[in-house]
Amino acid sequence: MATAVRCSIRLAAKGCSCNSTANQFVTKTIGLERSFSTTASRSKRTRSKRVAAKLEKSNHPLAKEVIALEKELDGLTKDPSDNAWDPISQRARTRFPIASLPPRAGKLKQTFMNVGDPDPWEYEDTLEDDDDDINALAHGELEQHREIRHYARLAAWELPLLSKLAKPFQPPTANMPLRFRYSSYMGEQHPAEKKVVLEFSPADMPNLTGLQREKLKKLAGVRYNPETDIVKMNCEMFETQAQNKRYLGDVVDSLLAEARDPKDTFEDVPLDTRHHHFKPKPKFPEEWLLTAERREELQQYRRRAAMKDQQKELVGQIVDGRLQIEEGLSKAAAARQVMPELLMVGDLKPKGKRVAVRR
């Protein structure tokens, strides 16, 4: 028991220490008031003295019964015949006499010199391990297991209660053409928390003529997506979400006011879509699908082709390049044979100077 307590103190101490790397391995307890636990509860219950005195004073039969039960229980635990633990405790005593245990150093006074230093009793190696407990890692595992169970319990019992808070989805109506997007980081601090994105379609904007709508698209510039017909803009230049949203609303207002302004209708300016890449989406052509009819058609075509070849072969119209070459060569040879070979008459020695080929 003592080692367990020491261990938990060690864990708590570790948790308190400034050493952040140690923090990772520290198990965190989830509140003491949990209703269910896998670990054994305190083995010995000592009733407060006040309650015992009250019990003795009262002459209620139930109280007497309780006192009798208690005594009986005490007698059971302090059975003088049960001395099985004695040799073990003796052995422990001989191995680790009380005097040999490292002296528990008291908390040092905080001075300028030791500010931020870990307390001496925080050093792992200064403490003796009794080998009668699972190690810290295992405690951590156990703690994690508890945690998982805790959340499983939450999921089982409390999450269903959230459905009471559910509201039915209300699709936006025609007079809500603006769609805002906010980003939340679940309570964490984030630089993009204040960003607000606004999307709207010029086609949904009220009280616009066709010309004005076109002008609105042209005014929106690169923020206009011609494929989806949606203008998208965002703002994160102000401190808070609300300010950014307000700004976006103002921009839409001014855009609409400009679009409705008949002074310049921008009719002569073509809508610029150079900023948008119309990505072609290749689709598998339907004609390429190998349906049963298509397969039949192909088979017929192949049969026809084979028939055509057969017919041509019968007539001898199939042209074979190799045969053609052989035929051509044999014809040429025959022509050469028909031609009488020319013989040189007279002096076989060639006339003229012999000139060596220069290389």
Partner: protein, 482 residues
Amino acid sequence: MASSNCWRCLSRPANASLLPLSRPSFSTTAFVAAAPKASTKAPARAKGEKTLRIKKKAFVKTGKPPAPGERKAMRKRIVLSNTNALEVAGMKDLDAEMVDSMVRGEDAVLDGALQSKGETHEDVVGKVVGLKGETVDSLRAVEAFKTTQGWGLFRRPGLLIREESVELCRRMTDAAANKKALRLVIDGEKGSGKSLMLLQAMATAFVKEWVVLNIPEAQELTNAVNDYTPVDGTKPTLWSQNTYTANWLGQIGKANNAVLQNTTMRKEYKLPIPVQSNISLARLCELGARDPDVAWPIFQAFWSEITNPGRRPVLICLDSLSNIMQTSSYRAPDYSLIHSHDLAIVRHFVNLLSRPTSGLPNGGAIIAATSRSHAPISKSMELAIKQSEEKAAQLRGWPGKVTQRDPFEKSYDERADKALQNVEVMRLKGLSKVEARGLMEYWAQSGVLRSRVDEETVAQKWALAGNGIVGEIQRGALWMRI
């Protein structure tokens, strides 16, 4: 350094070792630690020791270096026959009769009438026809053959007749019959036979005794490799390329000699050189070819002569059209770039191509082919071709819109837009399998394709060549060695 010796007398110190050493008076390193000075002389070799000595050989000149222009001639050489190739038996030659029968056959098919006996359209399509000697000479004179085409593989030049060539033949014949000008741009993928379609048009024109003018490569007109001068009295200034024009006139005269010899000049022209009144047009061309300075005026006279009523139809062709649809590389005296349409020959061609009212009173055709392998991108030309095709599709009742020009595109050329406003486009696609088979049979008969030509091999090559792109079929079947 001061010497301890006496300066005046030459007496040497008795003990040389007592001479003060030239070393610093104070040093932290030991004197012995100083690196000994490397001796400059190589250590003496021991007697009888051998060393390897490699003497560099002097550069030996072998043969003669190529003379100026020889390499270019080699590069530009066009070989039209190969005596090792087999002669294809039963190959017919392209002549006027064949052209007529092609057209008739087409008409018969169009009318839905039964085909008359004898040679019909169906028979010719997918066959390779030979070219007669005179036609080959003429085509060679107008530089219709190109080095990139595989003429050197075969015994003699032959042409595959495809559906499109019959169509082109028919339209040319119609144009000549109706005394109208066929204005056409031939477009298609790389290797789809655009230049060969031009060649076919020229061959047809030669056998039908038209007058043929050909600009074999528009790039040569615009990439500033020829001399150029402003033409007097033109505003905005027109620039004539005299040497090119002279050469061109020579080519025209040579190629069309058969027609031009028997055609005499009818009118009088104010020419910078005295010219006889009734000389033949072939002679006129020769005169122009001889003197670059007068080439342009003589060309103008020549043109007005051949477009006189009652003369032969005229075919004028140009390859790689996009070159003349932008500014040229020539510079005006103020160093601004000259637009291609301000060059005399280009202007002449573009006027003919763009003007709906015929510049050819005797009928004829103006055909330009695009180039898809080595040509600048002309946005205007691309758009004009696309629009023209879409309009044609709409006329045929197919759904679809006409593409509008991109309002934010900067590289459109206004003059090119205007020139190509309403020009017809003939798009060349891949060969049909019948045509591909005919072509491959011709190759096998010539002994250059060493395989059996049946439906299977044809289908293989046809499919691998992107559905019958003829250049790719040729590459896969003839030029690729696996």
